[in-house]
Amino acid sequence: MGRRAFICGNDAVAEGVRLSRPHVISAYPITPQTIAVERLADFVEDGSLKAEYMHVESEHSAMACAMGVSSVGARAFTATSSQGLLYMAECLPYASGARMPIVMMNANRSIATPWNIYGDQMDSMFLLNSGWIQMYVEDAQEALDMMIQAYRIAETEEVMTPMMVNLDGFVLTHTYEVVEIPEQKDVDEFLPPINMPQNKMDLNDPKSLCITAGNDWNMEFKIKQELDMQNSVHTIEAVDKEFGDKFGRYYGGLIEEYRCEDAEVILITTGSVTGTSRMVVDDLRNKGKKVGLLKLRYLRPFPAEKIREAVKNAKVIGVVDKNISFGYEGTIFTNVNSALVTMEKHPMSLNFIAGIGGRDIGKNHIEDMFNSMINASEGKVEERIQYMNVRCEK
């Protein structure tokens, strides 16, 4: 048993990182991530975390520095948000192409302009193609647990891929709640020391890293990366199962289905909005409505097969997107739809764009989403893309 603490999501990230014993932390502040790196500095200061703490001069350098650390086979951590994530974007494919098992926390935050520091998921959506495993947590406990799981997954030899753990800005990063902090010895049993037998610089086996591969060679490297990323779903599921066996908390691997059995309409969510949606599902179920909830934990690798299985009996699904891919629709909606088209008979899909720039997503708004889906399931025409909780009409 660990100890219970009343801490915020950023603190929980820091606790999870401390338990994972990284060798080096490269830190650059940005709201709303900052508390996480502040807390890690406290831990290094008080001696409870033996790590090199690097004050880097930008996010770009935060990731480059983490690459340097990982390149010699040491465990690296960094954290960022929003513009910071975009600024370091160039480095992300470097790290993933070199298969460096770096773990990064991203505090999901809006993208300028207009300037805004609150939580939406525009930032990480930019980086879906970065070659990083991308997962989204629902609460502080999951944030802590996922730091530990992330290192375990990222460093698994067949995966050997960096991992971005996303945490909704403020709603999770700055909200305090009860979190169980595991014992160090249990984490040590679960998470072995880092081992990179094939792709680190090694004095006994010198390597060239981040090499050039021209048009005659490049494609095979990229296909290998893709096949391994696809394959990582097995590790993700297995690690989650093993984590649950050890710590008593199972998250469902790639996705979590909540009351989806016999559901005619299913809402698909990522991150913190899932929690509020659970309450609405319970309310509607109590009223006899056949509704369910599907929480996407991972967007890369994308759990297409799992989604198809979960929604196969639904009439309508709705996808909540805290982002807009300008000129099209919500990014997750696009991804989900492409998973659906291979089904013999697939449910109709609606897109609910919500929470942009930190706009509140209340229970009433989620009820509206369900009502719209229920209407659609009864044959009424509903707008395919709906903006929730907007100040005025279009």
Partner: protein
């Protein structure tokens, strides 16, 4: 001569799964020579050479080996830039036209 050699045993991966994990390769892997670049080849006139090692020091490609007694040139990797001949104060290196 003490210079790295082409690894003639190097084989391209037969399957995608055999490709390296990551954009990685063993350090110092040589699979080709650079000799095709050369129009003129440096030839050391051992009678004139006093083993001052200037050419060894200044060769951008490091192809001149100190050896035990006399200097030798690794023609697999010499690009024929002529730095050695130009810098040799005794004129002990001749740049000779490559014969095809």
């Amino acid at each position: 001569m003490d210079r790295p050699k082409v690894n003639k045993d190097w084989k391209e991966p037969e399957r995608i799964s055999k490709y390296p994990v990551g954009s990685t390769c063993d350090g110092g892997t040589l699979v080709t020579i650079n000799a095709g670049w050369r129009v003129l080849r440096p030839v050391i006139n051992q009678d004139k050479c006093v083993n001052c090692l200037k050419c060894f020091l200044l060769c951008p490609d490091g192809v001149i080996s100190k050896g035990e007694e006399k200097l030798t040139i690794d023609y697999d990797y010499c690009k024929g830039c002529g730095v050695c001949a130009y810098e040799c104060k005794l004129g002990a290196i001749d740049m000779v036209k490559e014969e095809k």
